[in-house]
């Protein structure tokens, strides 16, 4: 065991060193203004600004002949005046009653999982649209991306597909609404595993640097360590590359690659972009997806400034305060689904549809 731990530790250390070395060289090169990997975020005051964070609470449980889902979403709208939180409002309410969804046994395990994810997103989008209509905010921040996750895309012949289509429709409606009302739409991805930014660095920045007039030793180091960009997530690498108060350049969500499901977004596909910001010293950079049809870097600047301002309160943790609050309000506990099932049982008696799965009811 000890030997294994040593080997694993050595491997992790080796990869981390490669990331650190490469990021160091890129930083030095960046100073020479050969290329722009990162941009300082402008400090702004939050004054006369309404920022809404929307997050959902979701629970699902499978029984012998049915699946129960409970969902709710809350929009936490913070009104800032003179850089301070002046008041807060909740849409639809401070603690909405969870909405139950019962599904039959016709779904496979995978479909049940996809349906659950889509139902959660669906609820969040519906509440986001209502929030925008009621509060007319300056910024809307969603928990997670502002596009459907590829893993949630069902087969076209699946029973879940219609739900997926409806979710896509809601996304498009949201984009339309935000564009019309000039609202900044942002998705804060809590634990991004994306690696697109590193791919962009590898394909564009690294070759141009190798051709540029930089010291030879820099070029050697880049050549020695560039392979790490194929073997890392963006946040792992950017932890070294970005300094506090910096963001990456904006990258297009689709670029030239064919992202699964992006076609469903239709004309909006090219309007989705992403940046990473480093808000605090001891946490990873935070990925922010955003909607921008024009002035992409300007929009990225504005979004980075606002999100940095509401995510930098804790040196160990960076996440927008509006989403921390929305999450706390929307979160569901296991007991809530148990209460719902108990209420169902009361009406149905001992019904085999609601038998617990055998694997969850071992007698010993």
């Amino acid at each position: 065991m000890e030997k294994t731990i040593k080997t694993v530790a050595k491997r992790i250390k080796h990869l981390s060193q490669k990331r650190e070395i490469l990021s160091h060289v890129l930083k030095k090169s960046d100073k020479k203004k050969i290329t722009k990997f990162k941009v300082p975020i402008k400090k702004i005051d939050l004054d006369n600004l309404t920022i809404c964070g929307v997050d959902g609470g979701f629970l699902k449980k499978e029984y012998h002949g049915a699946g129960i889902m409970l969902r709710r979403a809350v929009g936490a709208c913070f009104r800032y005046e003179k850089n301070k939180l002046a008041n807060v409002a909740y849409i639809p309410s401070i603690k909405p009653i969870p909405e139950p969804i019962i599904v039959g046994p016709e779904f496979s395990d995978m479909e049940f999982g996809q349906l659950a994810s889509l139902k959660r997103v669906e609820k969040e989008l519906l509440v986001t649209i209502v929030t925008i209509k009621k509060k007319d905010p300056d910024v809307v921040v969603l928990d997670g991306s502002i596009v459907p996750y590829p893993s949630n895309i069902p087969d076209k012949d699946s029973d879940v597909y219609c739900t997926y289509k409806y979710v896509l429709k809601l996304f498009r409606k949201l984009y339309q609404l935000c564009t019309k009302k000039k609202i900044l739409l942002v998705g804060a991805v809590e634990d991004s595993r994306g690696c697109r930014y590193c791919k962009v660095l590898l394909k564009k920045a690294v070759p141009s640097l190798l051709k540029a007039d930089i010291p030879k030793k820099f070029k050697t180091k880049i050549k020695e360590n560039k392979d790490i960009l194929n073997n890392t997530t963006d946040t792992l690498f950017l932890y070294y590359l970005l300094d506090v108060g910096e963001r990456t350049a904006a990258i297009s969500y689709t670029s030239k690659e064919n992202i699964p499901g992006s076609k469903g977004l239709k004309k909006w596909t090219k309007a989705i972009h992403a940046i990473y910001i480093k808000a605090v010293p001891f946490d990873r950079p935070l990925r922010l997806d955003f909607l921008a049809t024009k002035n992409i870097e300007k929009t990225a600047d504005k979004i980075a400034s606002i999100i940095w301002q509401i995510s930098k309160h804790n040196r160990l943790y960076s996440y927008p305060s509006v989403l921390i609050e929305a999450d706390a309000r929307a979160k569901l506990t296991e007991s809530e689904i148990a209460h719902f099932k108990a209420a169902l049982n009361e009406k149905l008696g001992r019904n085999p549809s609601l038998f617990d799965l055998r694997r969850e009811m071992r007698p010993f």
């Binding site: 936490a76 913070f78 850089n83 301070k84 939180l85 807060v88 401070i94 509401i310 930098k312 309160h313 804790n314 040196r315 160990l316 943790y317 305060s321 921390i324 609050e325 706390a328």
Partner: protein, 499 residues
């Protein structure tokens, strides 16, 4: 009834013995009585503890981090997350039959907790709003703390607190109530053993002066000729059986010879008697001389206890000027014993004997010669109830007070007590005092008291009412020191004049 909050689920409840509720409105305080309408009837509870919770302050590390930036309040809606929870002990349920039962089924989460109907609380506590002694208000409630005379006093009472917590004040309120009662309400006679002259002010009160008689301790005389050898032996516990027998012979001789005689007559007769051994003679003469030096014994007795005890009236024995504790104990022993005997014979009315600084007169663990009045006080505590001879013991050191006497005081009025040994002693002497109640005793403010025992069905905190009679406050330490120095200065000036 005003709604206070809603019952919530906790890891332990709601259960038949306790429940918690989130406070939504109202001025809810620790110790307050509340009610909940349940399937069983009206559940009555008392708030044991109140605490606040806020998810933004649950993680010490996070709070420290956000505090560093000084932005927790400006970044998050912190106040929106503050909830106040009241932990409540279930005390009983009034069913549809109107009877109080133990809760046998818990209230449900979501049930509404309300203020309690004062009439119901009065019934629950067993107070007597019609004829009770009005000592103040039940804390946190709109209910007079009126205790039934019989329940409060017949099985004796103790008033316990540290110095300055309001014992004498509370006792004065009790006295006011007892002296203000009409014959229809039932009145007792009062005897107050006033160690520091705290109750002599009643004599000057315009409303009560006709009901109060103050007797200076120095004026009290015990007729030596009415003392038997056993009576004298009670004051001199070191006497042996032989010495008591020899003293008895002398007393018999003097009774035949004289109608009235004094201690000095006994001493002289002892000295002249040739049949008593020299050793006995010397011991008896020594002890009797000690008694004689107290200037307490005479040929006739004063005051006449038979005549002075009247219903609705109070006699204050002012022992302020007497420094000798033994003399004080002899006076208390004499008066208490005589009064009890007269009560047993039906000669004096039912009475309440209030003994201030009771630990001085009925101490725990002291030898007999240092506790001359302990025997009669313990006897009164044990047997007085049957003869309507009631005791009220007041002490600032309960641990030094006889356990026998204190345990017989079935009603206890406990004001602030901080000494852990005293608190422990109080807890041991009353089974209805719980740990949490005990904790509250040490934090009581002046004038707040816990009533526990026979007078109330459940321990209840009260706020002692204001006195209707004039208070006789002592001077502040600074003022007294200034006055004393002025007096001292004038004395010295007079001395210099002589020089």
């Amino acid at each position: 009834m005003a709604k206070f909050g809603t019952i919530i689920t906790t890891p332990d409840g709601p259960s038949v013995s306790s429940f918690s509720f989130v406070i939504q409105s109202g001025n809810v305080k620790k110790g307050q009585f509340v009610s909940v309408k349940t399937e069983e009837g009206v559940l009555i509870g008392t708030i044991k503890n109140i605490y606040k919770t806020n998810r933004y302050f649950e993680s010490a590390g996070a709070v420290r981090e956000y505090d560093k930036a000084g932005e927790l309040y400006s970044a998050f809606p912190v106040k929106e997350w503050e909830y106040t929870i009241a932990e409540t002990k279930a005390l009983g349920v009034y069913g549809k039959d109107g009877l109080l039962n133990r809760p046998s089924f818990p209230p449900s989460p979501g049930m509404v907790v309300t203020d309690i109907d004062p009439k119901l609380l009065n019934k629950f506590l067993g107070l007597d709003q019609e004829r009770g002694l009005d000592l103040g208000t039940v804390q946190q409630q709109k209910l007079r703390a009126k205790f039934n005379l019989t329940k409060m006093l017949q099985k004796h009472m103790a008033i316990l607190a540290i110095s300055g917590a309001g014992k004498s004040y509370a006792t004065s309120v009790l006295i006011e109530e007892l002296l203000s009662r009409s014959p229809k309400q039932g009145r007792v006679a009062l005897l107050v053993i006033d160690n520091h002259g705290e109750y002599i002010g009643f004599e000057k009160d315009p409303k009560l002066k006709n009901k109060v008689q103050v007797i200076d301790g120095d004026d009290i005389k015990i007729a030596a000729n009415r003392l038997s050898e056993k009576g004298i032996a009670a004051m001199l516990p070191r006497m042996s059986a032989v010495q008591v027998r020899d003293l008895g012979k002398i007393i018999s001789y003097l009774r035949e010879e004289k109608e009235a005689y004094s201690i000095s007559d006994i001493i002289n007769a002892l000295k002249e008697d040739e049949n008593i051994s020299k050793a006995t003679k010397e011991a008896l003469v020594g002890w009797l001389s000690e008694l004689q030096s107290m200037r307490l014994f005479s040929t006739s007795e004063w005051p006449n206890i038979e005549n002075m005890m009247r219903q609705g009236h109070m006699v204050v024995i002012n022992l302020k000027k007497i420094l000798n504790l033994k003399k004080k104990q002899i006076i208390v022993n004499h008066l208490s014993r005589k009064l009890f005997n007269l009560r047993k014979q039906g000669i004096v009315p039912p009475y309440l004997e209030i003994i201030e600084e009771a630990h001085n007169f009925c101490p725990e663990g002291k030898r007999a010669e240092a506790a001359l009045s302990r025997g009669i006080i313990e006897l009164l505590a044990r047997e007085g109830r049957k003869f309507y001879a009631n005791l009220c013991l007041i002490s600032q050191r309960p641990i030094q007070l006889s356990t026998t006497a204190l345990s017989q005081c079935n009603t206890q009025m406990v004001l602030k007590v901080t000494n852990p040994y005293d608190l422990d002693h109080i807890a041991k002497s009353s089974e209805s005092i719980t740990r949490s109640t005990l904790d509250m005793i040490s934090t009581l403010k002046v004038g707040e008291a816990l009533m526990v025992g026979e007078a109330t069905n459940y321990p209840v905190f009260i706020k002692v009412r204001k006195r209707r009679t004039k208070e006789s406050h002592g001077k502040k330490l600074e003022d007294f020191a200034i006055l004393y120095e002025k007096k001292l200065g004038s004395k010295l000036a007079k001395g210099e004049d002589f020089l």
